[in-house]
Amino acid sequence: MENKKKLLLEIKDLKTHFFTEDGVVKAVDGVDFEVYQGETLGIVGESGCGKSVTAFSILRLLDYPGKTIGGEVIFKGENLLKKTEDEMREIRGKEIAMIFQEPMTALNPVLTVGFQISEALLMHFKISKGEAKKKSVELLKKVGIPIPEQRVNEYPHQLSGGMRQRAMIAMAMSCDPILLIADEPTTALDVTIQAQILDLMMTLLKEFNGSLIMITHDLGVIAEIADRIAVMYAGKVVEYTDKKTIFHHPLHPYTLGLLTSIPRLDIEMKRLNVIPGIVPNPLHFPSGCKFHPRCRFATDRCKKEEPSLIKIEEGHLVKCWNVDKVLKEVKKGLLVEV
């Protein structure tokens, strides 16, 4: 079914490294995925796995010492990494928009909300300032901000966290982007506000059949809104498939570990599973499979050779040597500890 959908964005072997004084940090090291028209791709992983850097690399927002040193970002048939800065500016905000985690730092504190929304409109369309302002009010209304005529003249600090995130969504949606990249958009918000914001984002996306790349560490959020999911660990995608498969038949030990180590509302758990150890230091990644020191399925082979992301079944890619062993475990019942 996926193949029938229109391919919008294709990431091929993306490599973004940071050249720091201490050495090269391979934040994103060979990432591949696709985004189809109208779908939501969830990128999930813990801090430092490279999920945000992937997003920034797509829009080419990284500065020194970060640099995308390889791969392709093909958006609507064209490689964004080959575009000039001027061409990128045309795409950013207009065709691909981004929502950031912390609305307080992502918004400019000394400019009014209205000005910041108008800015993108004025840049991408030939309209007057008055029209841009009018459109800003409409947008604020659309994202559910009460009294938009007044709010449009206010500064970010006058808005609550949830409202700021709404304003940022209004800004991102202002030029009807075809692809929205949301980097932990609800992490800083309370759950009841998070529910509002997710609901709003999904309603707006449906309205114009836009695509979304949702970056988060929260498996619950992913389960609610994503169609397909890429699980990242240490700069690489370790498992890539549709939502149901990820949650019911994960085949990567890391995915399995994550799913069984979170407390959850839907089932009673006797004891949480634990992924031992910590995320490795990106300056000194382990040899072979980067997950092997924390993996209970690891063998000698994992220590020496790094597996590649291979197709296990249609639409299910896994980067692991021991898929058979994981499968056995999953078949026993995902939540053995229950």
């Binding site: 929260d218 619950g220 509302l265 910590i278």
Partner: protein
């Protein structure tokens, strides 16, 4: 039920809002406004609510790190609300706290052995340095850090390890109760489960009582025996964990549960979307504080503030829906 270890009676904590060059008080932030609850020996009481609801202030006020304006705090049969600072310090041997942020809660200029031993020095436990550090080593090993690392500084540890150090520090005095203030919120998923399991094991081992403050209901459901829900400085519901999740009374608590994302694509639930934001605690709405956002609001709700009442055995709720 076991003995009551901690009783909080009509606790009030307001913070002044000061303005102008003379710092005149122009209003009050009603952080905690007349709340009462009990913590039983050996249990984990989950205190849940959204930011600004007063859950952290409650924990800090119980420890008298913030002085209460009104009310009573009875710990282990003793009223500690008005006792002298020096006496309170002695009481704190039995009441410890683990903070949310493992980065700012450890002094960066102290070695971790001294961070953990500081409480023992204050309370004159193990005066002999050698014995003290031996105990520090044991504590470190118990929380999963090698005792060889005790000469290191906090910055040499990861977030999860620092949280373990914070736990070791709290354990050092063998307290009766530990307040865990969002103790696992800042941690990554894989580290969080390690710490939660550690807290559970330690509870069993040392017969600890936890007041577990958190905003994450999934964690609360996993770790608590009973649940207290706060909204804008008030308690809206208290119940046994099972009872609370099976038969939630208060509309706010219902909405809160429904808003929690569940990592299961097949999990069907009714989604209650609340309108608007949490109002400012400086100027809470009249009547029931939740009424402007409530989906079951009635006329009476904007007029009279509902009292926390026992509706079923051990299940309390402050809502006019249950007036009869």
């Amino acid at each position: 039920m076991a003995n009551s270890l901690l009783q909080v009676k009509n606790l009030v904590k307001f913070f002044p809002i000061k303005k102008g060059i003379f710092r005149k008080t122009v209003g009050w932030i009603k952080a905690v406004d007349d709340i009462s609850f009990e913590v039983y020996e050996g249990e984990t009481l989950g205190l849940v609510g959204e930011s600004g609801c007063g859950k952290t202030t409650t924990a800090l006020t119980i420890l008298r790190l913030e002085e209460p304006n009104k009310g009573q705090i009875i710990f282990d049969g003793k009223d500690i609300t008005r006792i002298k600072r020096s006496d309170m310090q002695k009481e704190r041997k039995n009441m410890q706290i683990i903070f949310q942020d493992p980065y700012s809660s450890l002094d960066p200029r102290m070695r971790i052995k001294d961070i953990i031993a500081e409480g023992m020095l204050t309370h004159n436990i193990l005066k002999n340095a050698q014995e003290r550090y031996k105990k520090v080593g044991e504590l470190l090993e118990r929380v999963g850090i090698s005792a060889e690392y005790m000469d290191r500084f906090p910055h040499e540890f990861s977030g999860g390890q620092r949280q373990r150090i914070g736990i070791a520090r709290a354990l050092a005095l063998e307290p009766k109760i530990i307040m865990c203030d969002e103790a696992v919120s800042a941690l990554d998923v894989s580290i969080r489960s390690q710490i939660i399991n550690l807290l559970k094991d330690l509870q069993e081992e040392y017969n600890l009582t936890y007041l577990f403050v958190a905003h994450d209901l999934s964690v609360i459901k996993y770790i608590s025996d009973r649940v207290v829900v706060m909204y804008l400085g008030k308690i809206v519901e208290i119940a046994d964990k099972k009872e609370f999740f099976n038969d939630t009374f208060h509309p706010y608590a219902q909405a809160l549960i429904s808003a929690v994302p569940v990592p299961n694509p097949d999990y069907k639930k009714e989604r209650i979307l609340l309108q608007g934001d949490v109002p400012s605690p400086a100027n809470p709405p009249k009547g029931c504080r939740f009424h402007p956002r409530c989906f079951k609001v009635m006329k009476i709700c904007s007029e009279i503030e509902p009292k926390l009442k026992e509706i079923k055995a051990g299940h309390f709720c402050a809502c006019h829906l249950y007036d009869n």
